[in-house]
């Protein structure tokens, strides 16, 4: 399991909502969370 860094929920690695920053892939529970992350990755990735 992976953690959706935006909302804190746990998501499966098979989730279709994901974004890559440098070498790390982040998984999300929904398009909303992915959109929030993509708007400002540094806020959630660090």
């Amino acid at each position: 399991m992976e953690k959706d860094v935006v909302c804190g929920m746990e998501v499966a690695k098979t989730s279709e909502y994901k974004s890559a920053v440098k070498d790390k892939t982040f998984f999300f529970c929904s398009t909303e969370c992915k959109a929030k992350f993509d708007a400002n990755p540094i806020k959630y990735a660090r």
Partner: protein, 680 residues
């Protein structure tokens, strides 16, 4: 995987024990937890009954076991243990069954296995006395474990109700009945739940406002201090908005309902405060992982400990084989309950959220607490945040010496009295303050973004703004008479909060759409040197990103719609709210009161909360890790095998107390924060 908001256990997504409330889905490990979530007070009363039954029977068991020497005492104890085991203990079996059905484990399962083992072993020894030679009965163990754990649950429940105080107090401000006015104009009292949007109700003097709505008739003053912190009563006349939960002081008003029940501001606030506590923190992941593997590990550990004792004692030919094997198993199972770990985060967040709301801070996103605790720069919007939202007139500047300043002002104010724009209001009020009488105007017209015009004494008068937002010009028949300059008064609390942040080593900065000159003026007074002026709303977010790329954690405070992007981008965004739209505001927190010092309070609350959560999780995990070996038999070399007569009961007491101590420690958060802020 979701977690149960009551016990903190992991619940599989497939669980059918769920509840949808206010757009959020909650998962529970058992119906017991669900009921507790829905109606904590009733559950608390029920817990008290089962608890009293448990103690009423388990105390006699203890006395008989150690003090009475009658031949059939085992049978008496068996009879006394029955109600404890199967009435008071019933809720554990229900919970355990539900966990097993979902192929997962919970604390109920552990307690059930532990106490049932002790009970049935003792019942067997009682009914077939010859089978295990030299083995006693352990009804005291099984009954005491149940009684102690129920005591722990009960105390925990009482304290959680206390932690919920602020949120519950909010809801208690809504009266149960209201006076509705029907189509015929008759007044009837109906239950609050029956009120709908569009209904007309009567609110008498001294009553709490039960709904959000607009005044149709009447005039009164309303105390809104519980929502805004402003002690001054607010005048309400026809057309004014009233907010649920405020107090109608001195007049009767008819109000058209706009939001009732769950659509009322008060109920939205309540939901937000409660929801805040279900937020997830980064560090909680550690605790979650820990408790999801916990139940199977504990059962295995208990079997291993029991097996080791069984093998070593049988090979030594000891007569204590059965006794020690059973008691070691029971001790390990009972001591290892992970409920304190599950509680550590939610209870602290709940307490923290309640502390915040009592300080007129609405925490909307507890997951942002992690980032809040790292904040090292605070960026402020200028107008409406550091300064008042409404301007004051600075001076009137005639275009030439021919014109008199008061004459220009009387023309400007006469035209502006018809506009609701903040600048227009400032000019009108300034003129009134100077006792300048206003002139008759005909054909007044307002062009948004440009200005106001009209005819005075046959001449066409215009008041127009230019590129400088803090200056308007007055024209008569197209000729400029002069200008009025305005400025925004700096809030006293802005000075105080910036000094406070500086003392704490936190940087400060300002972003504004205003001209650099005005920004510098404000910056100089406040001691802010890092200034970004003439910034469009979209660019505000970019400036925050730039800080973040430089490794800073940014708190942003802004007041308006044009700050939404910056508030969202910041690591912790604060909206200066107030009024009835608080629930809608963006941001991780909303200030309900116009006091900039609250920003420092937020910073302190964030740091204190995170450190308390870490402390709680550390305690809870450390406690479980340390006590398991003891329950398994690590202290036997020191105290001898006799210690096993007490270990299971000690285990139950310790387990109950671990949850209680976590809750107690969380309640101490209030003292820590008050002490650090040096005021109530």
């Amino acid at each position: 995987m979701p977690t149960d908001p009551i016990c903190g256990m992991h619940v599989p997504q497939s669980s059918d024990i769920t509840l949808e409330q206010d757009g959020q889905k909650y998962f529970f490990c058992s119906t017991g937890c669900k009921i507790k979530f829905q109606a904590p007070e009733e559950e608390n009363k029920k817990e008290r009954t089962t608890l009293m039954v448990a103690w009423a029977f388990s105390l006699p068991v203890l006395l008989i076991n150690y003090l009475l020497a009658v031949p059939s005492k085992d049978y008496i104890m068996l009879a006394l243990a029955l109600p404890v085991q199967f009435y008071s203990g019933l809720l554990f079996y229900r919970g355990a069954y539900q966990a097993l059905r979902m192929r997962s484990g919970n604390m109920d399962l552990l307690i059930s296995i532990g106490t049932l083992t002790a009970f049935f072993f003792s019942a067997f020894v009682t009914l077939f006395p010859g089978y295990f030679s030299a083995s006693g009965v352990y009804f005291d163990t099984s009954t005491f474990i149940i009684s102690l754990i129920l005591t722990g649950n009960y105390i925990q429940g009482v304290m959680e109700l206390r932690a919920n105080d602020a949120a519950n107090k909010l809801l208690s401000r809504i009266p149960s009945h209201i006076h509705i006015i029907d189509d015929k104009g008759e007044i009837k009292d109906i239950e609050i739940d029956a009120v709908e949007k569009g209904d007309v109700i009567l609110i008498k003097p001294g009553e709490n406002v039960p709904v959000d709505g607009n005044v149709l008739e009447g005039k009164t003053e309303v105390d809104e201090s519980m929502l805004t912190g402003e002690a001054e009563p607010v005048l309400k006349i026809k057309g004014s908005k009233v907010i649920s939960g405020t107090v109608n002081i001195n007049g009767a008003i008819k109000v058209e309902v706009e939001g009732a029940g769950k659509d009322s501001t008060l109920s939205k606030l309540y939901t937000l405060i409660k929801q805040a506590a279900t937020g997830k923190l980064k560090i909680q992941r550690l605790a979650d992982t820990f408790s999801s593997y916990f139940v199977p590990i504990v059962i295995i550990a208990a079997i291993v400990a029991a097996s080791i004792w069984y093998v070593s004692l049988s090979s030594a030919g000891s007569g204590l084989v059965a006794k020690i094997t059973v008691l070691a198993f029971v001790s390990v199972i009972v001591i290892a309950c992970p409920c304190a770990i599950g509680l550590a985060t939610p209870i602290t967040l709940l307490v923290s959220s309640n502390i915040s709301s009592s300080r007129f801070i609405l925490m909307k996103n507890m997951s942002a607490m992690d980032r809040l605790s790292k904040v090292n720069i605070v960026v402020f919007d200028k107008t409406g945040t550091l300064t008042e939202a409404k301007p004051d007139v600075n001076e009137v500047l005639p275009a030439s010496k021919v014109y008199n300043a008061n004459f220009i002002l009387s023309y400007a104010a006469s035209i502006e009295q018809y506009s609701n724009h903040p600048i227009a209001k400032a000019i009108t009020e300034f003129a009134k303050g100077k006792h300048i009488s206003l002139l008759d105007v005909t054909g007044e017209e307002e062009k948004p973004g440009v200005g106001v015009s009209g005819v005075i004494k046959g001449e066409r008068v215009e008041v127009r703004g230019g590129s400088d937002k803090n200056r308007v010009s007055i024209f008569v028949n197209g000729r400029r008479l002069g200008d009025v300059t305005l400025s925004y008064r700096i809030k006293e609390s802005s000075k105080a909060v910036i000094r406070k942040f500086e003392e704490s080593g936190i940087k400060t900065a300002m972003v504004t759409g205003d001209k650099l000159e005005e920004a510098r003026r404000v910056g100089n007074i406040l001691g802010i040197t890092d200034i970004h002026a003439e910034i469009t709303p979209e660019k505000k977010a970019d400036i925050i990103k730039a800080y973040q790329q430089n490794g800073l954690y940014v708190m942003y405070a802004g007041d308006g719609i044009n700050d939404a992007a910056a508030i969202e981008t910041a690591d912790f965004g604060v909206a200066l709210g107030g009024g009835s739209d608080i629930a809608k505001e963006s941001g991780d927190a909303v200030l309900l009161k116009d006091d900039m010092m609250l920003l420092y309070d937020i910073y302190v609350i964030g740091r204190a909360t995170i450190s308390k959560v870490k402390q709680n999780i550390g305690w809870a995990i450390g406690y479980n890790a340390a006590l398991m070996p003891i329950a398994g038999g690590a202290v036997v070399p020191l105290f001898g095998l006799g210690i096993y007569s007490f270990l299971p009961i000690l285990a139950a007491a310790a387990m109950g107390m671990s949850s209680v101590s976590v809750v107690l420690n969380s309640l101490l958060l209030k003292r820590t924060i008050n002490k650090r802020l040096g005021r109530e």
